[in-house]
Amino acid sequence: MDKRWKIASIIGLGWFAALPLVLSIGYALLYSLGVIGALNKGFTLLHWQKLFTESAVFGSFAFSAYIAVVTIVVAVALSLTIALQYHRHLQRGFFSSVIFLPMAFPALVSAFFFFHALSKSGLLSRLAYKAGIVNSIEAFADLVNDQWGIGIIAAHLFICFPFFVMLFVNRIKSERVGAYLSLAKSLGATHWQALKKVAIPLLIKKTLPNILLYFIFMFGSYEIPLLLGRSSPEMVSVLAVRKLQKFNLYHIPQGYAVAVLYTVFTLGLLIIILRSQKLDYDL
């Protein structure tokens, strides 16, 4: 009985977790190599060669990494501040409920809101106009579809910072950060010194795997850059999907090549994370 359940579980995991991945990467690889596909004519490395000569692909990986890094750095800084400085307000009361509101937002809705908040005709621009800061619609700065991905970062930040707040609040409790802080203070450290030298390094170290996992999520983000991004550079998911739905049917293999490249990159990163750190399974 026991044995049967065990085998069923492992097969279940294989079926739902590993098989889809193996199938998808296998299909994408074969397609990108011209082995399968209605318009492909047999094995070729041509699509991969084309991919590597196209700067847009590398630009896209770099841009995705940039967005993920900036979002995470800002989110960690913001949520650490909230968790460490405002923990009393997080226990109960209005603030403690309000701060988790963004968790009810799917990425698509966040993107929709930030488009209407930050675009040239958006809420912020209207407020600036009313306040007399700008006198025409063009005068308002580019905050969506912009060079620096400000809109994309804002929309990501909005939905992810409560998770980090929660992560840190839980860790402050489980790692007894309060006790360390009072210890440091009793040894003569100022509040700021205790935070800087004790609490922050401890929390970052303990949550690093979760932060890195978040990096992977953000790297593959789709809906937000689809609505708030520029035509170029695009984030990886947007690029891959565009190439796969291209008007030119002969470019589809390149789209699959991007998908393979992305999967290999993500898997590599995941293995590094899981190998080097003992990941806390508490998601």
Binding site: S9, G12, F16, A17, I82, P102, A104, F105, P106, G255
Partner: protein, 257 residues
């Protein structure tokens, strides 16, 4: 009154969290938002009534999304709970867990475009069951990972204790393990519910647009520049989780992707 920067920053964060909800609700009630007006005009509830009465497909989407999310949540929570037990106590726990992380960390839309071929092959593309299975590819591993932390030495000892006292495994499961796991099961249920509730990439690719969940509807209204109906569908997506959050903060007081 003295100026306290702490309260100012708390006020700013509060405002940042509340504004989007307010704007979405206002836009969903409005029929015009001309630049440079800050507050949308022509506010009335008629739009909500129309959206449900007329041929907009919003009511149908709400129903499909509810059904889909509930099914995903039930299946992935129960199967993930059982599966995680064997993984947690397995000698290759780490390797097996790596498997569970795989589909969960990939961009759903990329996974979907690469898997679409098989779904078509199995006649599942464009069907409710197909989308359900596709979402399980994310939700099931999530739930498995979620529960591995639950199966610790203490649980094992409880189970053994029941056994030594003559109870069957089924008895131990029913009387000890499930009650102990109840809060976690509830949390996982809502997490998986939200994964399905929020999903766009997999649903749009595997579903062909034939399984019009609310996120698909939002995207469709956005592409036709119908911001009022888009905002209305956004409200339908956002308000139920907010309600849950309000009823029981603990339910969402854990991370979901």
């Amino acid at each position: 009154m003295t100026f306290k920067p702490r309260y100012v920053s708390i006020a700013v964060i509060t405002l940042a969290c509340i504004t989007p909800v307010l704007v979405l609700v206002l836009l969903s009630l409005s029929q015009s938002w001309v630049y440079p007006k800050v507050i949308p005009g022509r506010l009335s509830v008629s739009q909500w009534r129309e959206a449900f009465r007329q041929n907009t497909g919003i009511a149908n989407s709400l129903y499909i999304t509810l059904l889909l999310a509930a099914a995903v949540a039930v299946i992935s929570t129960t199967s993930g709970f059982i599966c995680s037990k064997w993984i947690a106590y397995h000698k290759h726990k780490k390797r097996l867990l790596l498997l569970a992380y795989l589909p969960f960390v990939l961009s759903p839309v990329i996974l979907a475009v690469c898997l679409k071929f098989y779904f078509i092959k199995l006649n599942l593309a464009g069907t409710f069951v197909g989308v359900l299975l596709a979402q399980l590819v994310i939700a099931f591993p999530y739930s498995t990972i979620f529960f591995t932390g639950f199966w610790n030495r203490q649980m094992l000892q409880y189970e053994q204790l029941v056994k030594t006292l003559g109870g069957s495994q089924g008895y131990a499961f029913k009387m000890v393990i499930v009650p102990a796991a109840k809060p976690l099961l509830l949390i996982c249920f809502f997490q998986c519910f939200l994964i399905a509730w929020f999903e766009y990439g997999l649903t749009s690719v595997i579903g062909y647009g034939k399984v019009p969940t609310l996120t698909i509807k939002v995207y469709q209204f956005v592409t036709e520049a119908n911001i009022y109906y888009a905002a209305l569908s956004c409200c339908l997506l956002v308000l139920p989780p907010i309600l849950l959050l309000w009823i029981n903060k603990r339910i969402i007081f854990r991370q979901v992707k």
